[in-house]
């Protein structure tokens, strides 16, 4: 088969177009699954109690911080959200060392630092459970736009807690950058964390 100069030009142009499209497809940023906060919002520091020590948000500067507010007597949404976070952290492998999951209890009446430590570490040993006094929890939840309400106890003394079910993600500078709905999947969380970890 004889290829003339015009055919060569056509092949060259097509090759450049295909290569350009492929480069675009593979290098473009993958869209986030969570709701992106633009621009990222600087968040106030908080200081709460873990079983071992007093912990501040500022302790984790340089890491992504995943904040989930709930309570240990929650049978449904809280443990499932923590299980999804565990699966996502397992998926991203070594990169998980640059992510800190903090489970903050809003149930200041029942939850203790020790109970939270056991509960959070059941899901992953590096998850940290935090609690504070009513004043500390009120301030932290207000600062972070989290609603909570301890309901009236039933005849057995059990009460449920209404609370914001979204998960907050802070970037390495401690700025709120993303929120996830409670029904987000582990693979979607892992994808978002991977994207965020690429940011300096």
């Amino acid at each position: 088969m004889r290829v003339n100069r015009r055919d060569l030009w056509v092949i060259l142009v097509l090759t450049i177009v295909v290569a350009g499209m492929a480069t675009y497809m593979f290098s473009r940023p993958i869209p986030f699954n969570g709701a992106v906060i633009t621009p990222p919002k600087p968040m106030p520091n908080f200081t709460l109690q873990s079983a071992q020590r007093v912990i501040s948000l500022n302790d984790f500067r340089g890491k992504l911080v995943v904040l989930y507010f709930g309570y240990t007597n929650c049978p449904d949404i809280c443990p499932l959200t923590l299980a999804n976070l565990r699966q996502a952290m397992d998926r991203i492998g070594d990169k998980a060392k640059d992510v800190q999951v903090l489970f903050i209890s809003v149930d200041w009446k029942r939850d203790t630092p020790e109970k939270l430590a056991s509960y959070a570490s059941v899901f992953r040993p590096d998850f940290i459970g935090l609690i504070g006094t009513q004043e500390q929890i009120d301030k932290t939840t207000k600062d972070y736009g989290i609603f909570y309400l301890l309901n009236i106890a039933d005849k057995n003394g059990y009460y449920s807690v209404d609370h914001t079910a979204s998960v907050l993600v802070l970037n390495r500078k401690g700025e709120l950058t993303l929120t996830w709905p409670n029904n987000i999947r582990p693979d979607q969380i892992a994808s978002d964390l991977t994207q965020l970890l690429k940011q300096k």
């Binding site: 240990t72 007597n73 929650c74 049978p75 449904d76 949404i77 443990p79 499932l80 923590l82 299980a83 109970k115 056991s118 509960y119 059941v122 899901f123 609603f147 309901n151 039933d154 057995n156 059990y158 449920s160 209404d162 609370h163 914001t164 079910a165 979204s166 709905p181 409670n182 029904n183």
Partner: protein
């Protein structure tokens, strides 16, 4: 020989399909499928004095509406609850019953109706089964063997 192997394979596939389609319990027009007690953190959740939930699908194959009015177990206290997500806020309330309309299915699932356990007295192990007694207005008492799972 090849035909025998092929026949055995098809038989195994059919039996597996039948087994997975079989309800966990069936009585007086009520069929229960997909029943599970969830230990999302695995066996380590035992002894934590936290609450757990069970989920399942309840199908009413009869011509009359029925209502789930109560639940009980021998490993703690059980009650019916409903979780609602309003906006991004999770709310949970105890409920008196769940209506199961005639010929329809109602799913007890995360973020909706579920059975809640508290003051758990026995260790639950992922992979094991426990019995849950469901009380229906028309179908009566239905005992469901329920798998303990971490997913």
């Amino acid at each position: 020989m090849k035909k025998v192997v092929l026949f055995m394979f098809i038989l195994a596939v059919l039996l597996t399909a039948c087994a997975s389609a079989a309800p966990d319990a069936s009585q007086n027009g009520i069929e229960i499928t997909g029943a599970r007690v969830l230990l999302p953190g695995g066996d380590a959740m035992n002894g934590m004095d936290s609450t757990l939930a069970a989920f399942m699908t309840i199908k009413n194959t009869s011509a009359a509406a029925d209502r789930l009015t109560g639940v009980s177990v021998d490993f703690g206290e059980a009650s019916l609850h409903e979780t609602k997500i309003e906006g991004d806020v999770m709310k949970m309330d105890a409920i008196l019953g769940v209506d199961i309309p005639a010929g329809q299915m109602v799913e007890l699932r995360s973020g909706s109706y579920h059975i809640m356990f508290m003051n758990i007295t026995k260790e639950l192990k992922v992979g094991n089964s426990v019995n849950i007694l469901l009380n229906f207005e028309k179908a009566g008492k239905v005992t469901v063997p329920v798998k303990v799972t971490d997913k």
